[in-house]
Symmetry: C2
Subunit: 183 residues, 2 copies
């Protein structure tokens, strides 16, 4: 049975969300779609290519209207949207951060941050460093939150989740650093 690329991708995201990153293999995806792995490779040349498409799909599903008019609010919108998109899918933070580190996808948030900072007349070096710093913060926070919530939910560990809702406070600290430089 033939499947369109979009069907295979949607099934890959569903498999990830239901069973986590370790379960997302070309073999299992083929088995669930009742096709040979070669049919998966027809659409995605490698496991990395599949992961990259999954990461971009996770981000696309989390897209929201952006309404802020000033750069601090615009940065907050991009970072919060990225965080919420990753948290909405099991192991989403791990997948998106890994694909971005591979340089294979998930490039939109950094590009969006860079555009906001460029439009705010930040110098080029600051645009690059600040965009990466914000994304590193978002990835670090989302990875902790998702890992902690998933492990506690599975009964694998016991820890308090009380400190987790401080995402916006930490984000504002980084933005304050930027404000000190942009005046």
């Amino acid at each position: 049975m033939a499947h369109k690329r979009s069907d295979v991708l949607a099934h890959a995201v569903a498999l990830l969300d239901a069973h986590g990153l370790a379960a997302l293999t070309m073999r299992r995806l083929g088995a669930e779609l009742e096709v040979q792995p070669s049919a998966i490779y027809h659409h995605f040349a490698s496991k990395q290519a599949l992961l990259a498409a999954v990461a971009d799909e996770i981000l696309a599903r989390g897209a929201r209207p952006r309404t802020a008019s000033e750069w601090p609010g615009q940065l907050r919108e991009i970072c919060s949207e990225l965080r919420d998109a990753m948290l909405a899918c099991t192991d989403g933070a791990d997948v998106v951060a890994t694909v971005w580190a591979f340089g294979l996808g998930a490039a939109a948030p950094v590009a969006d941050l860079e555009k906001v900072l460029t439009d705010a007349d930040a110098p080029d070096e600051l645009v690059a460093v600040a965009s990466r710093t914000l994304v590193h913060y978002v990835f670090g926070h989302a990875f902790e939150e998702q890992t902690a919530r998933q492990a506690v939910s599975l009964g694998a560990v016991e820890r308090s989740l009380d400190s987790l809702p401080d995402f916006d406070l930490g984000l504002d600290l980084v933005i304050d650093g930027l404000r000190a430089r942009l005046g």
Copy 2:
């Protein structure tokens, strides 16, 4: 053959460094030490407990003398030490960030950051948020750098590594945010 806990732990770190996190299982550790898995469980009650000990060992091996006298330099020393310790072992960033998210270990860096900020008379809420923000930034940056370098080194992906040496620049941006609040 009986093994001391410290021997088992040292072998676990060596296994992680040689073959990565996916290879670090109780079964494989037992096989390499020529003991039943139960002998491993005698020292480490669970895979999580083993991972926690491995994370703390990675941090202990990266410990360096700290010489800075002012809080910004003290924060930089702690964050750089954490980053270098994680980068020194294959998948070290993943292991340390995961164990910290589990609440099972790797707690020293945050405790050290909190002490520096408390001694600098930061208000309690800022102490907590800023310590966590710094650690999230360090984890996010180190995870990208390690994932990228390992994947490029294995020939798994091609990407430029030119942007990676910006760790100190991003760290200074977060510290500037703190400076704006601490005066």
